[in-house]
């Protein structure tokens, strides 16, 4: 848990905002746990950042590797999966995925 406000890496508001975006809800206790977890992750990343500040030769930024246009996939159709297979682990209805109504 963050010791004080100046060192706090993630605020309660930030955490709740992320939870809302992910459509997740947490109890008070779970929230505290997650905030702590997030802060550990951020600290870990900060650690990596300070480690590599001197020597960046061993790391590569996302997107720094390129592929040439002509090496991309050709536009030719491959077989899709059968409908039963696609729906095998979910609740299906008439070939559709079915979820609780999402609009009022």
């Amino acid at each position: 848990m963050a010791q004080n406000n100046t060192e706090q890496k993630i605020t309660r508001e930030q955490f709740l905002s992320l939870a809302r975006l992910a459509r997740l809800s947490f109890s008070e206790e779970e929230s505290e746990d997650f905030i702590r977890g997030f802060e550990e992750m951020i600290s870990f990343c900060d650690g990596i950042n300070s480690e590599i500040e001197g020597d960046a030769s061993t790391i590569r930024e996302v997107g720094s590797r390129e592929i040439a246009l002509d090496d991309l996939r050709e536009d030719s159709v491959c077989p899709s999966l059968p409908n039963e297979k696609i729906l095998s682990n979910v609740q299906g209805e008439h070939g559709y995925f079915s979820v609780k109504r999402v609009v009022k």
Binding site: L69, L72, D75, I86, G95, Y96, F97, V103
Partner: protein, 472 residues
């Protein structure tokens, strides 16, 4: 107060590739639900996307045809949001490095609607809301899209119509999309704000989502502008909001306000490499572009001397233009070819789709030969129209319909004698005409047309008949 409408468009266009953007599933429209799906496009854990080359090429085509600069280094980004139409809970799109930037679409007035950017992304699945359930079809999920973002340069619903129609035509001409709004392969989000006339301070904008008909776009814009003007006139403030247009009532309603604005938390897509597009490939694609719609329209009315009205009816359909130009290349005259297509051929093609497909039983070679007979005065227009109508219905070669004797035409002597016959056999029509009923003369033409199977030059017959009757 008087206000000026300020509008920008975000237009989604489905690309006409055979496969989806990141997997080999078919993009064909109208299949049974969830039959064009695989682990990639249903977002199964561990499945990895592989970018379709044609998507990038088509997007470059679209960019070049709208005068954009092409970014030769481009990458994709993740746009995160939770909604059942996205199985991964993110959409792979482009954020800070779109493929195309800084283009424009020119309107006929010469006004340019500037384009901010064109980027590639994947389409979402289709949702069907039923009583207590929402049903999801992921066939559309992963179908390649380009999003064309315009600057707020559109100042009226009429300009909006022209902008969308021009975009549609450009995309069809260059063959990257069929842009069928009714099937959802072209959809527009319309941003609207008002500013007091003469001012350049932009007002608060609202966005009307997912419009799939040009007529509805015009109506929604007019309604929304009116709504905003009423708020401003009453001293109120327009609230930034995302709206929907209700086609049944013709009104817009609020879907979500600024407070519920999405936070997409974009970041570079780690599952895909940055794409490098060699400059030479961009040049190759540029060289392969056909003549664009507005250039064609201007050439038809200018160089070819076709009327604005007729040129417009032709240039709307790429396949018609191809046929028309093939006839011209074989030596047929532009005006007679255009008239026969617009009169006789179009009367057999009832719908827009039929005109777009232009699947007719007459070859450009036969059409050109027929037009050349008319151009050279060997047969008259009436016979050409009748012949063409028969060929369109029954097919077969021109030689089956036009004989040597047709080409010989009707001599002046034959025509004079026929005119005499016509008068003698239709005394009532002749009398009526002399009594002042101009239309009665039509009965005499009918006689001549029948007697010559349409071969006679009716304009010349009219002169002769009038001459004969005046001697009476």
């Amino acid at each position: 107060m008087k206000y000026q409408l300020v509008s920008g468009f975000e237009t989604h266009v489905e690309l006409a590739t055979d496969t989806k953007i990141f997997c080999g599933c078919s993009t064909k429209f109208g299949a049974s639900p969830n039959t064009h799906c695989c682990p990639v496009c249903t977002g199964q854990p561990g499945a990895l996307p592989v970018l379709n080359k044609k998507v990038v090429e088509y997007a470059i085509r679209a960019g070049l045809a709208t005068h954009c600069t092409i970014n030769t280094i481009t990458h994709l980004d993740r746009k995160n949001y939770c909604y059942p139409d996205l199985p991964k809970a993110y959409q792979i799109s482009q954020f800070d490095k779109p493929l195309c930037e800084h283009g424009y679409v020119e309107l006929e007035s010469g006004k340019k609607i500037r384009l901010t950017r064109i980027h590639i992304e994947e389409d979402a699945g289709k949702l069907v809301h039923e009583r207590g359930h929402t049903l999801i079809d992921y066939n559309r999920g992963g179908v390649p899209l380009i999003e064309i973002v315009s600057e707020p340069d559109i100042s009226s619903p009429e300009e909006a119509r022209e902008y969308v129609e021009k975009l549609q035509l450009i995309m069809r001409y260059i063959g990257v999309s069929d842009c069928k709004m009714q099937e959802g392969s072209m959809r527009c989000d319309v941003n609207i704000s008002l500013c007091p006339e003469g001012s350049d301070v932009l007002g608060t904008r609202t966005e009307i989502k997912n419009m799939n008909s040009i007529t509805f776009i015009e109506r929604a814009m007019a309604y929304e502008a009116e709504r905003q003007a009423e708020i401003l006139d009453a001293g109120g403030k327009v609230e930034q909001a995302t709206m929907r247009f209700d086609e049944a009532t013709g009104e817009t309603y609020v879907m979500r306000t600024k407070e519920d604005a999405q936070d997409y938390r974009y970041f570079p897509e780690p599952d895909l490499l940055t794409v490098h597009i060699p400059k030479e490939r961009v040049e190759e694609i540029a060289a392969s572009l056909p003549e664009l719609p507005l250039e064609k329209l201007r050439r038809y009315t200018g160089e070819l001397g076709i009327s604005q009205h007729n040129a417009r009816l032709l240039y709307k359909y790429k396949a018609v233009c191809d046929f028309f130009e093939a006839c011209l290349a074989l030596g047929a005259g532009a005006k007679n070819t255009a008239n026969l297509i617009l009169g006789t051929v179009y009367s057999t093609l009832a719908t827009e789709e039929e005109k777009e497909a232009f699947d007719i039983k007459v070859s450009a070679g036969d059409m050109a030969a027929l037009v050349k007979y008319v151009d050279g005065g060997k047969i008259n227009v009436t016979l050409a129209q009748m012949t063409l109508a028969k060929m369109l219905k029954e097919g077969g070669a021109l030689s089956q319909y036009i004989t040597e004797s047709d080409l010989a035409g009707v001599s002046e002597e034959q025509l004079i004698s026929l005119c005499r016959e016509a008068i003698a056999n239709n005394p009532k029509a002749a009398e009526d005409y002399l009594a002042g009923k101009q239309k009665a003369i039509g009965g005499l033409f009918g006689y001549i047309k029948r007697a010559t199977q349409g071969k006679a030059d009716i304009r010349r017959a009219e002169e002769i008949i009038k001459g004969l009757l005046s001697q009476k």
